[in-house]
Amino acid sequence: MNREATLSADTATVERPMPVLRFADQARRALQYPALGIAGLFALWWWGGWAIANNEDTMAFASFAPGPTLTAFWDIVSSGAVWKPIESSLYRVGWGLGYAIAIGVPMGVMIGYFLTLKQVTHVPFQFLRMISPLAWMPIAVLAFATWDAAIIFLIAIAAVWPITYATAHGVQRIDPMWLKVGNNLGANPYHTLRYIVMPAIAQDVFAGIRLAVGVAWIVLVPAEYLGVTSGLGYAINDARDTLEYDKLAAFVLVIGIIGYMLDAICVRLIKRSSYHAEG
């Protein structure tokens, strides 16, 4: 009795303010290191700008420095000039990824499920996977009627591999007992797919999509250097041609920020699709 009373008194006086403190503490700790990283990047950028500006050979490019770039960044955002290229680029990446998912997930399920298929496809797929998507560019341009379609093809062919192999990996990790139990409970193939296979592999599929988004976003810019007259890659090329280096750097900044955001969305999706208990 006595012991309990002291214990609860302790809880009342000591424990109660704790959560608040702990939260502030946690928030500080969670932000402190990322903030350090961002500061480091800016320092490097600033130093690079300073070095360029102080070298006679490179002085012409001084507007790559943070000051001019951020001004240009503000200009393209406030004038709205930034939105059109973003829209075009996201449209292409979206379709490319869409095709990659539509092809990669079923292909991965099959490869993960049938060992023979895995063995049959191993050499050709690894071979194709190691060819830079940009190597397909001339062929894509010939094969597709529009530039958009060619770029979407290049993105899809780059993004399909990580999705396929992550999905296959997920399927291979399915506990055979889950299928056995499902079978016993009277599951038809649709039930098995919907209630067992899909939830079991969701996390792996999204992990594959995260890798695919990274690849797609990287392939996009060089693909847009050619032919098209819209998109972030085109905007960079255009800025170079008109010698607006501050604007060029501002678009590089935009590409980085959007890439980061796409990745952050994927990380959230991976977390949400995980069935593992927290902690």
């Binding site: 506990d175 007992m177 889950w178 056995k180 139990v181 499902g182 079978n183 016993n184 409970l185 009277g186 599951a187 038809n188 039930h191 209630y195 067992i196 939830p199 079991a200 069935y275 593992h276 208990a277």
Partner: protein, 284 residues
């Protein structure tokens, strides 16, 4: 309600194995009867159970349930395993409901599951993710999941062997009670002699290489069974003798096994034991 099973001369040969795993197994189970299968590791108990469930087809012979040959799994005969094998992305309720969802029996599903979860003592945990449950609670969910489709036959493959002693005894009694209430036939595999005596109407002892039924013991103690009663203790000792008989002679050392007959003389010795009990021994 319970299923009548007849196992008609099953022989099973796994591909790439030299010897058949099971040979000429012939067993019948009456509706509502509970039968235990015991025998040393690797003698083919799980194999036989998978055949009863329709998860594996025998190379010769067949299993009939209520006169119909078993050729594929069905929610009417449900198998439970040593691991609960729940779906970790679902709540307790969803796991238990799955058989009904697969059968498209979604009407009054909620009430049925509520009732079932109450029976297995998990009402409070209905909406909780199964990963947060203890091993015993998880096995209870698996039991509820198996019972949800109103099976006529439960097949249990060492279902309680991973649990602590208290939980194990509680679940043995619970399954026995539910099976008797619902008149479900039960065939279960166990390594635990006490479990066999506590739950079964009849115990089949299996020998290995190839797997055959070597002895059969009726346990006609009324339910609920008192584990300390003389009859219970006697049956346990008797069964221990047969169980020892199925072991390789080299493994026989001391204790109850010391009196166990060796494999060569197993039928005569077992026969003498049978005069005292209702055990019948098949000629090996």
């Amino acid at each position: 309600m319970g299923a009548a099973i007849s196992i008609d001369y099953i022989t099973h040969h796994y591909p790439k194995q030299e010897e058949p795993t099971l040979k000429d197994i012939q067993v019948t189970v009456a509706p509502g009867e509970t039968v235990a299968l015991i025998g040393q590791s690797g003698c083919g108990k799980s194999t036989l159970l998978h055949m009863l469930a329709g998860l594996l087809l025998p190379s010769e012979g067949c299993v009939r349930i209520n006169g119909h040959q078993v050729i594929k799994p069905s929610p009417r005969w449900n198998m439970m395993f040593q691991k609960p094998s729940l779906y970790p992305w679902m709540t307790v309720r969803k796991n238990a409901s799955l058989g009904l969802i697969f059968q498209g029996r979604k009407r009054d599903m909620r009430d049925r599951i509520d009732e079932l979860l109450e029976t297995v003592g998990l009402t409070e945990k209905a909406e909780v993710n199964v990963q947060s449950l203890s091993g015993g609670q998880q096995q209870r969910v698996a039991l509820a999941r198996s019972l949800a489709t109103d099976p006529e036959l439960l097949l249990l493959d060492e279902p309680f062997s991973a649990l602590d002693a208290f939980t194990r005894v509680a679940l043995q009694d619970e399954v026995t009670r539910l099976a008797r209430e619902r008149r479900i036939s039960v065939v279960f595999v166990t390594h635990d002699i006490e479990e066999a005596v506590a739950m079964a109407d009849r115990v089949l002892v299996m020998g290995s290489n190839p797997g055959t039924i070597t002895a059969e013991l009726h346990i006609d103690i009324a339910h609920p069974r008192d584990r300390n009663s003389q009859a219970f203790v006697d049956r346990k000792a008797e069964l221990m003798g047969y169980f020892g008989a199925t072991r390789a002679p080299a493994a026989d050392k001391g204790g109850a096994e010391a009196e166990a007959p060796t494999s060569e003389t197993e039928s005569e010795q077992a026969e003498s034991a049978a005069t005292e009990s209702r055990a019948r021994v098949r000629a090996a």
